[in-house]
Amino acid sequence: MNRIPKHPLTLLLACLLSLATGLAQAALRMQLEPAQKLLFSDQPQTTYLRISLEGVFEADEAERAPVNVALVLDRSGSMQGDKLRHAREAALLALDYLRPRDILSLVTYDDTVEVPITATRFHDRAAVERAIRRIRAGGNTALFAGTAKGASEVAKFKDDNHVNRVILLSDGLANVGPSSPGELQRLGRKLGGQGMSVTTIGLGLGYNEDLMVRLAQASDGNHVFAEQPEELASIFRNEFGELGRIVAQDLVITIRCPEGVRPLRMVGREADIDRNRIVTRINQLAAEQEKYLLLEVEVRGDTGASERELADVELTYLDMVKGERQRRSDQARVEFTPSETKAQKSVQPEVMVSVTQQLATEMDDQALALKDQGRDGEAAKVFKQKADFLEEKAEAYDSDELRAQGAFSRELEDSVSAPAAVWNKARKEAREEQFIIRNQQSYK
């Protein structure tokens, strides 16, 4: 925590200053929360640090950063009928969220990729509507090429002042061009590295959730499972709504751990860990959205010191309101206590809920892999363990979130032995839930 100014006048000044400059324009709040305030001083122990980032936006809607979005729609044969009709209607409704200074491109794909609207400022709504209404279905699914073309449209106007995003809607398996989850994940990572995120919307029960999730995950976009085409309208509304609320982009979080603190891993997120230095990125943060990082560290017990620095966190990000890069830094500290019970009692439930959620959802990977291998019994067992674990922690931390997650895990446990169609849907839901937990997605 920040050192509190001692002098009352300084305090007042600081308050005034933060009111004048901070409140009106601060794009985000960063909070460092150790899972325990007190650590047992006699032995090394593993603990967590939660770094939460919350988007704040109190300016006018008109002041929001312009978006640069490519809408990439699957028009393969399977989209025919209701699915395409709803997709068209959802896209038409989503246009309400766009302003003339936003940039929109429309990409459709089957065997080949068409670009009915190349990236242009959103001046001519009627033309866009016409193009959307003209979309017809038929053919295969060149998902990679469609996404790549969408990305190349976004890249035309990509700059720091725009919220750059590709929104991909697909209902089928990629079958033209690169089509493995691994390749799409690499594509996602590339695009994320270039500063654009890919939101993937899986429609119906025919798409490959692993592929869609990994593409979104790697680029730090959103992922939604829309079982029914009717859901598309609200999904598009949420997605475009979030686009309009993006307050920060390209968030780079660099954590340095001092001597005596060994970073083990970043729970639920990819990060580069190089000895005591951890770097991770978050592509975009929306207002009213809280994203967090969970760092697992091993702290050497220290009987000599009463207090110690846990981590030094530096955040740089693009403030989308100010349109310039900002830098924040903060330190997380813990105190040592010779009493083990005191240390136990100092556990922060909110942090531990996050930790539990992340740890539990890691078990999903294991369970899904077992089920994919046909080892249903073992998969069910893992889901059961997960549910038990969640329920136990839900009681301990009195968390409804954990109770809900636990209940869902019980459902999954039952679905493992259910018919393939039921499992297929459950698997997509599981991946979606996992994604939402990992990425703290702003909507579902």
């Binding site: 990409v107 065997d111 080949t112 990729v113 068409e114 670009v115 053919g139 060149a142 990679f144 090429a145 790549a148 073309k149 990305a151 190349s152 890249a155 033209v176 061009g177 690169p178 691994g182 390749e183 690499r186 594509l187 590339k190 695009l191 590295g193 891993r265 990819e270 580069d272 860990i273 190089d274 000895r275 230095r277 770097v279």
Partner: protein
């Protein structure tokens, strides 16, 4: 003859038409081939125009990667150190020490799968990278390192990492031998020759031919006085490998100290760039499809509204330039569209042909009708002449009868008798003419009939000559007779006298200038042979066959001023043949010599 006429006409019309159709068909085929060739060239040129920007983009990548390599320290251990220190999120670089051992990357703190894959792939090419090294003798090698000098046997102890796919033949390395000085010299040439070799072949110490393309822009660093043959080694190049069936492109650079640094061109980066570069399906290719395929034939990207079936062969294709030479661009046309065009062309052609045939047929019909009318008219004329002849016959017979009676009554007046004889001779001539006409008409109608009986041929000849005597005397034609037929024969006397009369009549008309008529008769092998000879101008050999054809009159100089029907000889031969005999024109100089042969048994019935 008249029945065959339409058929003949039809054939004469159809034959050239059929020939024309055949010719046109073949021409159309050839035209089609030529069109296909032209199309192939056109498509090839279009693919070329697509390959060019791809190649340019690859060169950009090359420059970019090369500058990344050049920005690293020109010392392998320093380079590895700098890479270790830098927090590169993506494992893209690698460093080999002079012994060809991988010094970076070695291991990772977090075993991310991408890093493992990269490490595995570097391990895969490790053996080859060692081959890029200068010959072992030129290199300071420690005892421990000398074990790794077996280039063909790449496994290194430090690299016991995940190897997801065994080393396969798919690893396509176009290599050039490097070990021998002659081959080193060949590196400088702009030779296009590439050869694939087994990855493990130990005697094939070589470098990718891709390195050739990078020779124009060698590394800018000056190489500090290296060994003499190290100078000739390429300093940087591309290495194309197949990992898990997907292309991995590595740009490498040799360092002056014998180390080697390299960087990977990310395949996803490459695909992203190429897809951005290549056009979307903008409707400009309504009936074609262009595809970019990788070495496995998988479609990486495609555009064009036409969706070909999976097994449709490409109408044109082109490999991309190195180092992407295992990828190719394909152009596929809609065969239905092409087929339609072709069918349309054919239909057009057939329609034209049909119209032509119809026209020709109409023409043929017109010609046929005209000819028929002409023939009808001619036949009417002949009929008319026939009728007239018939009508003339009776009065003429009467004239002759009464003239002969008068001759008997006027035995004492020689002058009158002489005149009368002329009248009789002329009526005889007229009778013969009418007889000829009637014979011809009957012959045409197949109604010619003979009435054979016993005939004294010599007597008949004498009587006939008696009839001709006035005209022969007037024309001062000397008559030489050698009649030795003797016994009578079976023949139609009227026909026989008609044959001979026609021959003598001809002689009077055309050979009077010779002043000779030699007539001989004899019996030979049961045949009566009568020969008639003149000393006239004769008949040219070429035309001898024609004289027996009806209505043929030869040589205008001969026939000029001489009246004649042109049927005499024809009738004579017809009658002879009807008798079972023949009438020939024999070779003779000068003049003509006709030979008549008749069987003495008369005509067979």
């Amino acid at each position: 003859m008249r029945k065959h006429l339409p058929l003949l006409l039809l054939i004469t019309m159809l034959l050239p038409l059929a020939a024309l159709a055949l010719l046109a068909e073949r021409l159309a085929d050839r035209e089609q081939d030529a069109a296909a060739m032209r199309m192939g060239r056109l498509l090839g040129a279009q693919l070329d125009s697509l390959a060019t920007p791809i190649h340019q983009r690859m060169q950009q990548f090359e420059r970019q990667l090369q500058s990344e390599l050049d920005s690293l320290p020109a010392n392998w251990s320093l380079a590895a150190q700098q890479l270790r220190d830098g927090a590169a999120s993506e494992p893209r670089f690698f460093v080999l020490d002079p012994a060809g051992r991988l010094v970076y990357p070695t291991s990772y703190s977090t075993p991310a799968s991408a890093e493992q894959m990269f490490l595995a792939s570097i391990q895969r090419i490790w053996g080859h990278s060692a081959n890029i090294e200068p010959p072992a003798t030129e290199r300071p090698v420690s005892g421990a390192q000398s074990e790794t000098r077996e280039y063909a046997d790449p496994p290194a102890p430090a690299l016991k990492m995940v190897d997801p796919v065994p080393l396969t033949q798919e690893r396509e390395v176009n290599r050039r031998a490097l070990t021998e000085p002659t081959d080193l010299a060949a590196l400088g040439e702009e030779s296009e020759a590439t050869s694939s070799s087994e990855p493990g072949a130990s005697d094939d110490l070589s470098v990718t031919n891709d390195s050739r393309i990078s020779r124009p822009n060698p590394a800018p660093q000056s190489v500090p006085a290296p060994a003499s043959d190290r100078m000739q080694l390429p300093e940087s190049g591309w290495e194309a490998n197949y990992i898990d069936h997907s292309l991995q492109l590595l740009r490498w650079r040799r360092l002056a100290d014998g180390g080697l640094i390299g960087v990977e061109l990310d395949r996803i980066d490459l695909l992203l760039e190429l897809i951005a570069l290549l056009p979307a399906d903008d409707g400009s290719l309504p009936d074609a499809r262009i595809r970019l395929r990788n070495a496995q034939g998988e479609i990486l990207y495609q555009w064009g509204r036409f969706s070909p079936s999976d097994d449709q062969p490409a109408d044109a294709q082109r490999a991309l330039d190195a180092p992407l030479h295992s990828w190719r661009l394909e152009y596929l046309l809609n065969p239905a569209q092409a087929g339609n065009q072709l069918a349309l062309q054919r239909l057009e052609f057939q329609l034209l042909l049909g119209m032509g045939m119809l026209l020709v047929g109409l023409l043929a019909l017109v010609v046929h009708r005209e000819t028929r009318r002409a023939l009808d008219e001619a036949s009417q004329r002949v009929n008319f002449v026939n009728q007239v002849s018939h009508e003339l016959k009776t009065p003429l017979t009467n004239i002759r009868l009464y003239a002969e009676l008068l001759q008997q009554d006027l035995e004492d007046d020689p002058a009158l008798l002489n005149r009368l004889r002329i009248i009789i001779a002329e009526t005889g001539r007229l009778s013969r003419l009418i007889g000829n006409v009637l014979t011809l008409a009957r012959g045409r109608r197949k109604q010619l009939q003979l009435h054979p009986r016993s005939v004294d041929a010599d007597g008949l000849i004498r009587d006939l000559l008696e009839q001709f005597r006035p005209s022969l005397e007037r024309l001062r034609i000397e008559t030489r007779l050698d009649l030795a037929a003797g016994d009578p024969i079976q023949a139609d006397p009227d026909a026989l006298s008609q044959i001979l009369g026609n021959l003598i009549n001809n002689l009077e008309k055309y050979a009077a200038s010779g002043g000779l008529l030699a007539l001989s008769s004899r019996l030979e092998n049961n045949r009566l042979v009568i020969e008639l000879e003149d000393a006239g101008p004769g008949i040219p050999r070429r035309q001898r066959r024609k004289v027996f054809q009806p209505f043929v009159r030869l040589r205008s100089d001969l026939t000029e001023g001489v009246s004649g029907t042109g049927i005499g000889l024809s009738i004579a031969r017809q009658l002879a043949e009807l008798h079972g005999g023949r009438l020939q024109l024999l070779d003779s100089e000068p003049g003509c010599r006709f030979r008549l042969e008749l069987p003495i048994t008369g005509p067979k019935t």
